[in-house]
């Protein structure tokens, strides 16, 4: 059998190839985020200081909702033609599949963030008063927090009838601590306050939930 890392890489490349050909997830995410930026920019007319206060919340809520679109697509393509069964009957470990899906979603959401952040900066005239490089750390930790739980709960909800509704119902409550940390850390960096506590909270959240998801994923994959 291939080593688990080889299977993870093969599954990740396969998913990137499928997305490159179908563009199901990335188009929906981009369109949704663009709408949020434009609608909010017309709804509010904040000055520079107000922008720094509200931007963290706006950005992360937009990315959270957009991420759900990608997360639903992740497993939907495994259900078409029941391809997931082909994985389940193979000797490949369940966690290789989970990690590949989580990393793939991380890449999609990171691409979205890279494309949308400049628009947020322009529309809300944002300029960080604190160390801007910390925003990159918060973005990476926050994105992982969203996708690791999102990938797990999307897998849990794939066999339910209304999975598009089920995923946010499962994901949003459990993401509240991470969302709070992301928003507070972003606001703290933009307003020049210290974000250390929130970053440590995000690291802890990521470690706890990544471990939990890896421990439980095989049970979820084989559930009927």
């Amino acid at each position: 059998m291939s080593p688990p890392t080889g299977i993870t890489r093969a599954t990740l490349l396969k998913d990137l190839r499928l997305e490159w050909r179908s563009k199901d997830a990335i188009n929906s995410m981009l369109f949704f985020s663009l709408l949020v930026v434009v609608v909010f920019s017309f709804s509010f007319d904040p000055n520079a200081e107000e922008s720094r206060q509200i931007a963290g919340g706006l950005i992360w809520v937009a990315f959270l909702f957009a991420a759900v679109v990608a997360l639903n697509q992740t497993w939907a393509r495994e259900l078409r033609n029941q391809v997931l069964d082909a994985y389940r009957v193979s000797p490949a470990p369940a966690n290789s599949l989970f990690l590949a899906k989580a990393v793939c979603n991380f890449i999609f959401v990171t691409v979205l963030e890279a494309l949308m952040t400049p628009l947020f900066i322009v529309f809300y005239q944002l300029r960080a008063l604190g160390p801007a490089w910390q925003l990159l750390v918060v973005a990476m930790l926050g994105t992982w927090a969203l996708v690791v739980n999102g990938t797990f709960f999307a897998a849990m909800s794939i066999r339910t009838r209304s999975r598009e509704i089920m995923l946010p119902l499962l994901l949003f409550p459990i993401s509240i601590p991470a969302l709070l940390a992301m928003v507070q850390a972003t606001t703290a960096i933009l307003t020049g306050e210290g974000a250390r506590f929130w970053i440590v909270l995000l690291v802890t959240y990521d470690l706890v939930f990544t471990t939990g998801c890896l421990l439980l994923f095989e049970t979820v994959l084989n559930a009927e």
Partner: protein
């Protein structure tokens, strides 16, 4: 293991879906190196039995022993499974699909994929995505995926459905050759006449039980 020793033993297998019992105490031994045709009306429990043998459905009670192992995961690399849906990604070509599944079984050799595709009468050079294949081509590619890991046991659910008569006959010849190589083949089908003179045994299922086993394509009295 001698050729006549059972490669699969099923004892008092019961599978409930809520209040519906799909399998109602199935017990049987299946010797190696034979081709079994599993027949019965819709809802007789054929597919549930096959999915249970493939480790995809957990029995409510009873046990399955495959190649001496009671845990499917220990022998999954020796089993090939083909379902009614294709278990293939529509957006990728046949070769791309097989190359991915080969990695799950630790097969890094691309020539093995090409060999499996040729064995079912398709061209490995075909670059069209599987989604554009005819139903018959999809079925044959699905069979190639099941044969990829050179399994000792082949579990096939409706391999001839939507396949033209010439292709179906070719598939039957391939299955007979596979059996002649000492492998054990299970075919769930409604087109039993295709296997007349080829199958070693016809297993007749009715209402979640094995109603009888015959050498000829003649229903036992219990199912008549």
């Amino acid at each position: 293991m001698t050729e006549t020793a059972p490669v699969i033993s099923v004892s008092n297998l019961i599978k409930q879906f809520g209040r519906f019992a799909a399998l109602r105490g199935v017990s049987a031994d299946f010797a190696g190196g034979k081709l079994y045709a599993i027949l019965g009306d819709n809802g007789a429990g054929k597919t549930t039995l096959l999915r249970t043998l493939a480790g995809l459905t957990q029995p409510t009670s009873g046990g399955v022993t495959i190649l001496g192992a009671s845990e499917f995961h220990n022998v999954c690399h020796q089993v090939g499974y083909m379902a009614h849906p294709s278990l293939l990604y529509d957006e990728m070509s046949g070769m791309e699909n097989l190359a991915y599944f080969a990695r799950l079984y630790g097969i890094g050799d691309g020539s093995r994929c090409a060999e499996a595709i040729r064995a079912v009468g398709l061209d490995p050079e075909l670059t069209r995505p599987v989604g554009q294949y005819s139903q018959g081509m999809k079925q044959r590619m699905s069979l190639a995926r099941a044969l990829l890991n050179d399994p000792k046991i082949l579990l096939l659910d409706e391999p001839f459905s939507n396949v033209d008569i010439h292709s179906a006959t070719d598939m039957v010849r391939l299955l007979a050759r596979t059996r002649d190589q000492g492998k054990t083949v299970f075919v769930v089908t409604h087109q039993a006449s295709l296997l007349e003179g080829v199958a070693d045994e016809f297993v007749w299922m009715q209402a979640g039980k094995i109603a009888g086993r015959t050498r000829e394509l003649t229903p036992p009295e219990a199912t008549a």
